[in-house]
Amino acid sequence: MYETTYHKPGTLQEAVSLFSEVEEAAYLSGGHTLIPTMKGRLAAPAHLIDVRRIPELSGITVGPDRIIIGAATTHATVAASEKIRALIPSLCGLAGSIGDVQVRHVGTIGGSVANNDPAADYPSAVLALDATLHTDRRSIPASEYFDGLYTTTLEPGEILVRIEFKVPEIAGYAKFRNPASRYALAAAFVARHRDGNIHVAITGAGNAGVFRWTEAEEALQARFEPDAVKGLLPDENDLMGDMHAPADYRANLVGVVTRRAVENLGGILIE
């Protein structure tokens, strides 16, 4: 890892000003993506601005139809939150399925959603639960936030502050993991919203990252049962093919995990 200068601002304003004043800065949250990247010298920020002491980035607020999670909240905290479990149990289950105990103790929702790894778990919940991403300067609807592999519409220096999820009528999450990395090879977050709309978000499989699978949404809109998506597969030209799994295999997995998510509404199924 190259040398770097570490900063721990106590306010949002201080963090944003610091970012604009110094050259080659990066925000640091749990560091469980950024530090390994720096060790591999794939990133070499001259300044690290730790966002974890900024008060606006912590805490979980729950309303009747909204759950708002501070960006610096760890996966373990979300997994253990009784307030969230009462409204969206599959979101707790998703958080509890990320990496391992040690990773969940440190990694944060904001870091994961800012990083937008195509195999990360949270982006699927953000899309399926029609979340709003609140930053230091604006609010971005989920549909306008993800912008391809490891890319989002966050501007340089923009801080993700809170993520606001819509509480659905019911939701389910199913994931098929790569046995070595334990990241998703394919995972589906399925939610039926209170207005009757059904959202299906797929992670792990898309060649442009997380995506809404509209054909499955239409099929489930007509009949909200696991069998409604039987035989339905996404176009494999839109999927990743790599040494872990070719695109046609991933297409099949997308069908499997979507059906399993519908079979496990109110919970999760991880394999």
Binding site: M1, Y2, E3, T4, T5, Y6, K8, L28, G31, H32, I35, P36, M38, K39, L48, D50, R52, A76, G99, D100, V101, Q102, V103, H105, V106, R182
Partner: protein, 163 residues
């Protein structure tokens, strides 16, 4: 460079270190506590697991400067003189190690797991909670036996204490 003050196994240590110093380097290179191992240096293996403010973490992926003021437990802090900690004794008794390289991380993850669950653990939970700790020797079965037996001991001790 930053001045970093961290309490390790009950003793406060203040050191002037480079900002890029990882917690595991702080422990091994600056404090000479080489019980904490570096297996992969890529956040995969868990050999570097220590407990920071009550949570098991991978010390190869945490900047020392970022935990200024925290309290850290490492494997060196477990035994009471010649008397092994219950989890260490259980690993010994159940042959939960062969080469021993993964053991400090396994033990710290297990100590933390038993504390967080008040010793109420079953085999499936222990296996799930040890997903972040890799062992290339034992095949895990004896590690699981050791953790379950130490958890049982913890439950009994606490039940007695509560009476």
């Amino acid at each position: 460079m930053s001045k970093v003050a961290i309490t390790v196994n009950g003793t406060l240590h203040t050191k002037e270190v480079e900002d890029r110093t990882l917690l595991v380097q702080f422990l091994r290179d600056h404090l000479g506590l080489t019980g904490t191992h570096v297996g992969c240096d890529t956040t995969q293996c868990g050999a570097c697991t220590v407990i920071v403010d009550g949570k098991a973490v991978k010390s190869c992926t945490i900047l020392a400067a970022s935990i200024e003021g925290a309290s850290v437990s490492t494997v060196e802090g477990l035994a009471d003189g010649e008397k092994l900690h219950d989890v260490q004794a259980a690993f010994h008794e159940h042959h939960g190690l062969q080469c021993g390289f993964c053991t400090p991380g396994m033990i710290m993850a297990s100590v933390n797991m038993i504390e967080r669950h008040d010793g109420v653990l079953d085999e499936a939970t222990v296996r799930h909670e040890l997903e972040g700790n890799l062992c290339r020797c034992t095949g895990y079965h004896n590690i699981i036996k050791a953790v379950l037996s130490a958890a049982e001991k913890h439950r009994t001790a606490h039940a007695v204490a509560a009476e």
